[in-house]
């Protein structure tokens, strides 16, 4: 077994996916990283399946709205029911996508989609809009950034969330234009207030119908002349998007954000510049940019390994990929997401999750390091995440889940992977699969392990290693 090669590949799996998979551990020690990456590209290019979670009842109600053409004709109770069911459905969408992250062979695509999910932050509670937006970012995750940007910008979820439905000639609403520039393309400080004002006029008329399809509402569009980035003309929304893509700053901004997310919180400007030029010249080919990164020698250097704090989603999915866990109540994972500060589909604001050290404070760190023990011991657990009034509309107070996290972990299956390793080398072997570059103090660990049987030993070593600050890193 080539330990060095294995650790390189595990590094790749953490960054280009949601961590190493138990069933592939053997392969990681044999394949070269180039071959492993190629196989990730291949599995990620298979057709994306649409994730649909909306229930039949809701579909019926919603179809009714579309046929009637007016939401106003619904009774108050029906509207409430739609909102309630929609919120419930978003929970299911969360859990379904989480399962994809854990189980899908298209690891690279799902990881990239997860990046775009934070980049194109959105908190719409309409399940149909969210299903569609999720599909857009999954289908285009590794495709062309220009197409992705256009599709996202024309999605009902984004137009609604950023108030472009209210952006009309005579009454412009600048929110959409501002965020497209500040968050999606150029970054703060690379446009003027005048650019925002004028671009907002260009986006007038962009809207969506009840079924969530993009529509251009001519009667609301401002056909006057606009001056944006020093150019003057009767521009529309598509023109603005083209101008944004023509700017090398967009390429730099996106590349830098990708670098921070996938490589290092502290990006090297020279390296980002180089990657960004290539990205721009390729016409914004995301897959190509990611290949540049994941096949570079520097990507595997010590400085870029084990230096990223896992986000709560990465921590949770990572545990699930290496341990065969069966949650008897899947919703526990939602509670966990809220406690640790990353609930899918509920980013903290339009800028998405800030990441890095923002994940860590005293309470969140203690939940993180206690989590594996809680899973293992079925200990009583009680904690109440903050209420989210946007979600609850003052109706329900979150019920405090008291009691046990009922999970089943298939320890024999896990232990079987290490069956050929002598007992004296077990700690090091397990640590090599769990920790990225972290040193393990075998002496200390030994004091807290259960050596009554081989399986108990494997189990306790694993849980204790996961209950460390080092395991928070990837």
């Amino acid at each position: 077994m080539d330990v060095q090669q294995q650790s390189k590949n595990i590094h790749l799996m953490w960054r280009a996916g949601f961590g190493p998979a138990l069933e592939d551990l053997q392969a990681y020690s044999k394949l070269s990283s180039g071959v492993l990456y190629s196989s990730l590209v291949k599995t990620s290019s298979i057709k994306t399946e649409y994730i649909k979670v909306s229930s039949g009842t809701l579909d019926g109600l919603y179809k009714g709205i579309i046929n009637e053409g007016k939401i106003a004709q619904l009774s108050k109770e029906q509207k409430q029911q739609i909102r309630k069911e929609s919120r419930e459905a978003i929970k299911n969408l969360n859990l379904r996508w989480l399962d994809e992250m854990v189980n899908s062979k298209a690891q690279l695509r799902e990881k990239m989609a997860f990046f775009w999910h934070g980049h194109f932050a959105n908190r719409e509670i309409n399940i149909y809009f969210q299903q569609k937006l999720l599909d857009v970012i999954r289908v285009n995750a590794l495709g062309n950034f220009g197409e992705l940007l256009t599709e996202v910008s024309k999605s009902a979820a984004m137009l609604s969330f950023l108030n472009n439905q209210q952006n009309r000639k005579q009454h412009p609403n600048e929110n959409f234009a501002r965020e497209v520039m500040e968050l999606f393309t150029l970054g703060r400080g690379n446009y003027s207030e005048q650019d925002v004002k004028e671009a907002a006029r260009a986006f007038t008329g962009w809207g969506f119908d009840l079924s969530g399809e993009f529509i251009f509402r001519k009667q609301f569009h401002d056909n006057g002349s606009k001056t944006i980035f020093g150019k003057t003309g009767n521009f529309d929304g598509d023109d603005v998007i083209s101008m944004l893509l023509q700017s090398k700053q967009t390429s730099y901004y996106i590349t830098e954000k990708i670098f921070k997310f996938f490589v290092n919180d502290q990006p090297d400007p020279a390296m980002v510049s180089k990657l960004s030029n290539g990205f721009y010249q390729s016409g914004y080919d995301i897959g190509k940019l990611m290949s540049e990164i994941f096949t570079a020698t520097w990507f595997y250097s010590a400085a870029n390994t084990g230096n990223k704090i896992k986000s709560p989603i990465e921590l949770l999915t990572g545990i699930r990929r290496i341990l065969p866990i069966d949650f008897s109540q899947a919703e526990v994972q939602l509670l966990y997401q809220r406690l640790l500060g990353q609930m899918l589909f509920y980013p903290p604001n339009v800028a998405g999750w800030p990441g890095g050290r923002n994940w860590i404070d005293s309470s969140s760190l203690m939940y993180r390091i206690r989590l594996p023990q809680l899973l293992h011991d079925d200990q009583d657990f009680s904690a109440k995440p903050k209420d989210d009034d946007d979600v609850m509309m003052g109706q329900a107070t979150t019920s405090l889940k008291r009691g046990r996290i009922n999970v089943n972990i298939d320890w024999p299956e896990f232990a079987d992977v290490f069956k050929n390793i002598p007992r004296s080398e077990l700690i090091v072997a397990i640590a090599a699969t769990l920790l990225q570059g972290g040193k393990v103090d075998a002496q200390l660990l030994d004091k807290y392990t259960d050596s009554s049987t081989r399986e108990n030993f494997v189990r306790s070593v694993t849980i204790q290693l996961m209950s460390t600050p080092d395991y928070q890193l990837m």
Partner: protein, 398 residues
């Protein structure tokens, strides 16, 4: 920072709970006694958007009853505080505080270009940002940064909750959240964690060092907070409500020698779209009763003059009632300030003008950041300009 195991000096005279702590954490294990006049702030967040117009009621304004035929509070029911204003009937202790000169009310507090989304507006209040600006640090967190560059005092700001609010997160320093000191102590003092923290070699500024440092600080702080909480536990009766118990915890810490300057606690949800009356009544009763015990406790222990309690909500509600016996999201709102050390008492500014609205909403006349600036500068002696990023006008309530 390079700390080797040999540098861990164990001071045998200290309680066993602190024996395993690295020395660099010892510094704040021996706090100075809290001198009289040590000012403390207690922030009470009313989550969900409390309806200010049914909190401090402009009962002389006909517009009020015209816009709220169903949910307007009748003159006979409210608790008059002067010829223009009355308090919600479930807030009798606030009237008592008012009569004792320990309550100030700020009306029409808000900010330019108000946002009606809970999460966005709450972020604006917690980070003290402009409405078109996104900050990842909170105003109390930045207070910690400014107070304590390069030192380890994470207990200067404490939140009684399971999860830490954005308000409490600075760039370098973060406050600490816990429901009660005993549980915090219990969950953090596992021997395994203590040994991990002890055995980690610090090499510099890597992410691992940061995590280990946070863990060591948490373990140390949990111990410190727990020890302090046992020094002078409150003997006052408190309601069993969540807020009651939280304020009791805070009182016990205020009476101890702890170095905490800011406490943070939340109550909610005030998001009263439907049947507002019952919901607001229930929450106000919880607020009123908990505050009654808390302020009596502070008075009995001679700390009422040193503690500034203030409440806020992310927004007020619309002037007109809606069709469901409730109100929808609005803008400007009022704040309560409670202390024995107030320079201005009662209604600090006028009641909101219900005949001069913007799209059916109250116009703000006081930027909430001016309130923060005043508390930071005049109460905590901090550099408000640095913390808030801009000089806001000071007010005269302190």
């Amino acid at each position: 920072m390079l700390i080797k195991r040999r540098n861990f000096i164990q001071l045998g005279s200290l309680a066993t709970g602190t024996m395993l702590m690295p020395q660099f954490l010892k510094a704040f294990e021996k706090p100075a006694m809290v001198p009289a006049g040590n000012k403390v702030v207690v922030v009470i967040q009313l989550s969900g958007g409390n309806d200010g117009l049914n909190t401090v009621i402009p009962y002389r304004d006909d517009n009020y009853y015209r816009e709220r035929p169903r949910i307007g509070i009748k003159k006979d029911d409210l608790l008059l505080i002067n010829e223009n204003a009355g308090l919600h009937p479930s807030l009798p202790h606030f009237r008592a505080l008012h009569d004792a000169g320990q309550l100030a009310i700020l009306n029409s507090v808000g900010y330019p270009n108000p946002d009606r989304s809970h999460f966005r507006s709450m972020d604006i209040w917690q980070t003290a940002s402009q409405s078109n600006e996104i900050l990842n640090t909170g105003w109390i967190g930045r207070y910690l940064d400014a107070q304590c560059t390069g030192c380890d005092k994470p207990t200067q700001a404490l939140e009684v909750d399971d999860v830490l609010s954005l308000a409490m997160k600075g760039e370098l320093q973060k406050g600490l959240a816990f429901k009660n000191p005993r549980n915090l102590y219990g969950s953090s003092q596992e021997k395994y964690f203590r040994e991990l923290a002890k055995n980690h070699d610090h090499h510099g500024s890597s992410q691992a060092d940061y995590l280990y440092k946070t863990m060591a600080e948490t373990i140390s702080s949990a111990d410190y907070i727990y020890q302090q909480s046992k020094l002078h536990p409150s003997s006052q009766q408190y309601p069993t409500s969540s807020l009651g118990q939280s304020l009791k915890t805070i009182a016990g810490l205020i009476f101890s020698d702890i170095n905490t300057r800011v406490y943070y606690v939340s109550l909610g949800s005030f998001d009263t779209h439907v049947n507002q009356d019952a919901q607001q009544k229930r929450l106000f009763k919880e607020l009123n009763d908990a505050m009654e015990s808390f302020t009596k406790d502070l008075v009995a222990n001679h700390r009422m003059d040193d503690v500034m309690i203030f409440s806020f909500s992310e927004f007020g509600r619309r002037v007109s009632q809606n069709a469901s016996g409730g109100t929808d999201h609005g803008t400007a709102n009022n704040m309560f300030l409670v202390s024995g050390g107030l320079k201005q008492k009662g209604l600090v500014n006028g009641m909101p003008d219900l005949s001069n609205l913007q799209d059916g909403d109250l116009k703000y006349s006081v930027d909430f950041k001016s309130v923060y600036a005043t508390v930071l500068k005049k109460w905590l002696g901090a550099d408000d300009k640095m913390i808030l990023g801009k000089q806001y006008a000071y007010m005269d309530f302190i």
